[in-house]
Symmetry: C2
């Protein structure tokens, strides 16, 4: 009753092990399907099944004609379901209300820890919002993710990232409902100041206000 793992599941784990021992990060190219097939002594369709599993979790990305590459998500523990249910008015509201519960304490934790790299990302996100870099193809770190990162806890960062990824799937139809960039920016600046000042209560309450505004805009 032990090895209940399917071949493609073990294969996927083996491929992740390769990625980790070789220290590959997002954007790095992986060995070709044929190479992997030879290396593990299986056929290419089998390798492809394993890679599809990893693709679903954002661990790898396919580029037709070019190769397979390491994706974001390779080292994340939490993910948004890429095949999750479609958005409804209720589900969008439910998501905002969940963020209203979860993100204020995260902001408070960030104001306590003030992790350096997270602070840098918050500043970067705030400035980029005004001067969107043109030739820059960097993944445009989201402010709330940077805020969570400032807590110094990667699980909290990944949680916020996953919540925003869920929103991203929904937002295609919702975007126009609440897209007040200027107000967003102003609130982000105040939030950044509160974190810089090391004021957990203020950071939490500002986050709550910010999300409450979004909630009412979305139809709460």
């Amino acid at each position: 009753m032990a090895g209940q793992l399917s071949l493609s599941e073990r294969l996927a784990d083996d491929i992740m092990r390769i990625i980790r021992v070789e220290g590959l990060g997002p954007g790095d190219q992986l060995a070709s399907s044929r190479d992997l097939a030879r290396r593990f002594e299986v056929t290419t369709p089998t390798v492809r099944e394993a890679l599809r599993r990893l693709e679903a979790t954002g661990a790898v990305e396919f580029r037709h004609g070019s190769g397979t590459y390491v994706g974001p998500g390779a080292d994340r523990r939490l993910l948004a379901n890429p095949h999750g249910p479609a958005a409804t008015r209720e589900s969008v509201l439910e998501l905002v209300e969940a963020r209203l519960v979860l993100e204020p304490p995260i902001a408070a934790a960030a104001a306590r820890t003030r992790e350096a790299e997270g602070l840098r990302l918050m500043e970067l996100s705030v400035t980029n919002a005004l001067h969107p870099p043109q030739g820059d193809l960097r993944p445009a770190v989201h402010f709330h993710v940077a805020l969570a990162a400032t807590s110094g806890n990667a699980v909290l960062r990944e949680t916020v990232q996953a919540l925003l990824d869920v929103r991203a799937r929904d937002q295609i139809e919702i975007r126009h409902r609440y897209d007040d960039r200027e107000r967003d920016h102003a609130e982000h600046v105040r939030l950044l100041d509160a974190v810089r000042a090391g004021d957990p209560e203020l950071a939490a309450s500002l986050t709550a206000e910010h999300l409450a505004a979004i909630r009412s805009a979305v139809g709460g």
Copy 2:
């Protein structure tokens, strides 16, 4: 620059659509690979790639020789990465600390809402902890998930579920470090009472204490 989705990605979405329009839930059997291949006019390896994607997210499960079945996770928006990084002492601690930030406010929300079905699950979980049902194959709902469900917000429930799924992957090696079932049970009972009484502050602080105990046991 529109349809950048791979065939297996679209196929996976189509299969999820079938599951939803036919109202299939966890445990229900899906059409066979060959049937799906015929229906979508592709070959079986292609269908299998799509199903592997869904398997990775817990949306479907394969049973060799029997069929393909709908899994838990089919309707979840948040997931634990099945191919996430291996557990370390630091990562386990980081996970507990994240829960310490996230779960107290969830407990408070539960004490405010007191959703009926969630309360029932909490009671079930508490009683089952003492009298483990023998012939029962139900997925043994975890107390903290039931607590989150009592908030009435499915995103909060899925968040806690995902966090616990991450722990489950790690816990294989850690289980023996903190397995004080009796103490757990006692704290769960008190927590249930606080929620029943509609006391958000007490529910939050009890949750914080509970998780802090786990943290120090794990080596904080």
